[in-house]
Amino acid sequence: MPEITKLIHHYLRHDKKFPHVWCPGCGIGIFLGALIRAIDRIGYEKDEVVLVSGIGCSGRLPVYVDFNTLHTTHGRALTFATGIKLANPNLKVIVIMGDGDAVAIGGNHFIHAARRNIDLTAIIINNSIYGMTGGQSSPTTPYGMRSTTTVYSNIEQSFKISELAVTAGAVFVGRGTVYHAKLLDSLMEKAFLKRGFSVVEVISHCHTQYGRQNRLGSAVEMMKWQRDNAIPVEKSLKMRPEELEGKILIGVLVDRELPIYQEEYEKIRERAKASAERG
């Protein structure tokens, strides 16, 4: 077994029965590799990591790995994670969501988690569609595209998840694709190490639902599209708006410092205690 496969195996729940739920060629598996490599490089103990997810193909990921797992309800993963992190700040809490999970049913939680700046990492696997439920449109399905609920064409505008996270106040926001696996590895590592609310948006492909309905070809062809349409943030600065039309910016979109919830909370606790002691 090659070293890299051994590494992945080390982090899988072995008494957990594979085969997994994902379609052959799905991008979620590639992302899983990046997640494990980043955790391994940082050197977190398996036991201090908690993966929290909602419901969806993406949400199934934490079930397979040998960390602590809270597989919750659709859209609410961030709120469960908030409770975990505040009750035990020593845990490294990572939240994995699909695009529907994160910005449709969970959209309100997403912007509020970013605003609060609790020390969590939120990962959104954005495949532009509802994978698990069979290819209905999501808030990230682009205008003009098809899904089982937009059979002629999608007439709604789509969310840009990373930009939404920046505006809502996340201190770190990165976007990658499953094609750019090395970039993904480094974004994940940066996000995990960042104190505060960090976000990584992972552009992935759902060839069996989104790809099939829009005649975008196989998983490989969809990954080629990622390769050809992703522009590194640094490079984009030198490009004209027309050139950037329809492209996806990848890399670090924001990396900044804002007061962290837990640290602020600690100060309040001290004040409350002092005032209680004064009577």
Partner: protein, 380 residues
């Protein structure tokens, strides 16, 4: 005097507290160290008291973006090892239902105080009602059990909040204090004893956290970060937590157990109180604030020599079926006054053969003793 700031985490002595404040103090005494909530009348004072008390005692208080977020944060905190609670009222309680099912199915201890107001919908936001008595039992989809208490005083807001935490920890189940606006806002004396009995969840390394040999057992519950690398899911799961959604046997065994672990322990959980029942021909069955009016009415009629008595339900769920059924054998008629259209009366009818008369009032006001007296006279 209502207290502004308190030194020790656990008060002792006699205090003058509203029901909502008393519940918050009960929670602190029971060891609650996490509260997540969203403001809503008539429960907000409970949240506000937790906001400063938890910070004093080193706990966590967070105001979330809605009630769904609140209950989910509570469940997360519980798996991280904290005793956790939230409080709400009608509309917020409705929003929480999916996650309550999650807590029941994942066997997560947590406490929810519902200070009921007159519904449906926004209804009479500041007025009293008790229209959530069935919702608390049946609000989430699927078959599950919960434990719910119905307090009639500030004292019981304190006592039942502690009981709710204790039983929630013992049985790994969501537990509810089904208050109403009148009890929540009532201000009266609360006596806090020197010693309080506290239960903590059982922990045992290496034991499956989601299954037991017995069909009605409660498995131990480790927390995240304690070396078990827990797998917690709201999908059907085996004793170790692994998803087994295609296995009919695993599903039925799990659903059976989360029901039986409560139903088979009804005797230990259920509490009722009896007044003047020895020779009663007609009984009132009452709960919550309404039981105060009921008792007043019963005492009044007793003075006139009428043979009336009362049973008060302190526990609503699991339903005190045996006690109610015995009552049904003792008396000719049972009157059930409620600030809803007969929710508990319907349940009573399941267990008795005598006549059950449902007396309802849904106008946002408490039921006055005179009205209950009048009803009793009609059926005596």
């Amino acid at each position: 005097m209502p207290l502004k700031s308190l030194q020790s985490s656990f008060l002792k002595g006699t205090f003058y507290l509203s029901g909502n404040e008393a519940s918050a103090e009960g929670a602190i005494a029971a060891g609650c160290r996490f509260y997540a909530g969203y403001p809503i009348t008539p429960s907000s004072e409970l949240m506000e008291r937790m906001a400063f008390r938890l910070r004093e005692v080193g706990g966590v208080f967070i105001q979330m973006e809605d009630e769904i977020a609140s209950i989910c944060a509570v469940i997360g905190a519980s798996w991280a090892g904290a005793k956790a609670m939230t409080a709400t009222s009608g509309p917020g309680f409705s929003l929480m239902q999916e996650a309550i099912g999650y807590a029941a199915f994942t066997e997560t201890p947590c406490v929810i105080v519902d200070v009921q107001r007159a519904g449906p919908c926004t209804g009479q936001a500041t007025r009293v009602g008790s229209g959530d008595m069935m919702q608390v039992k049946w609000g989430s989809h699927g078959d599950y059990q919960i434990i719910a208490f119905s307090p009639w005083s500030s004292q019981e807001m304190y006592d039942f909040t502690i009981k709710a935490f204790n039983l929630s920890e013992k049985y790994r189940v969501p537990a509810f204090v089904m208050a109403d606006e009148a009890v929540g806002h009532l201000r009266e004396t609360v006596r806090i004893p020197e010693k309080i009995e506290i239960w903590n969840r059982k922990k045992q390394k290496g034991i499956p956290p989601f299954g037991t040999e017995e069909a009605d057992g409660v498995p131990p519950m480790p927390s995240f970060g304690e070396g078990e690398r827990l797998l917690v899911t709201g999908s059907t799961h085996d004793a170790l937590g692994y998803r087994k959604t295609d296995d009919p046997e695993v599903h039925s065994k799990l659903v059976q157990r989360i029901n039986l672990k409560i139903l088979n322990h009804r005797k230990e959980i259920v509490e009722t109180e009896e007044y003047f029942l020895e020779d009663a021909e007609v009984a009132i069955l009452s709960y919550g604030f309404t039981a105060r009016s009921s008792l007043y009415a019963v005492k009044g009629l007793r003075k006139e020599g009428r043979r009336v008595g009362m049973m008060r339900l302190k526990t609503i769920w699991p339903f005190p079926d045996e006690k109610v059924s015995e009552l049904g054998k003792k008396v000719r008629k049972i009157l059930v006054p409620e600030m809803n259209l007969g929710q508990v009366a319907g349940e009573v009818k399941k267990y008795v053969t005598c006549e059950v008369i449902s007396f309802n009032q849904t106008n946002g006001e408490i039921i006055r003793p005179e009205k209950i007296k009048e009803e009793l006279r009609k059926i005596l």
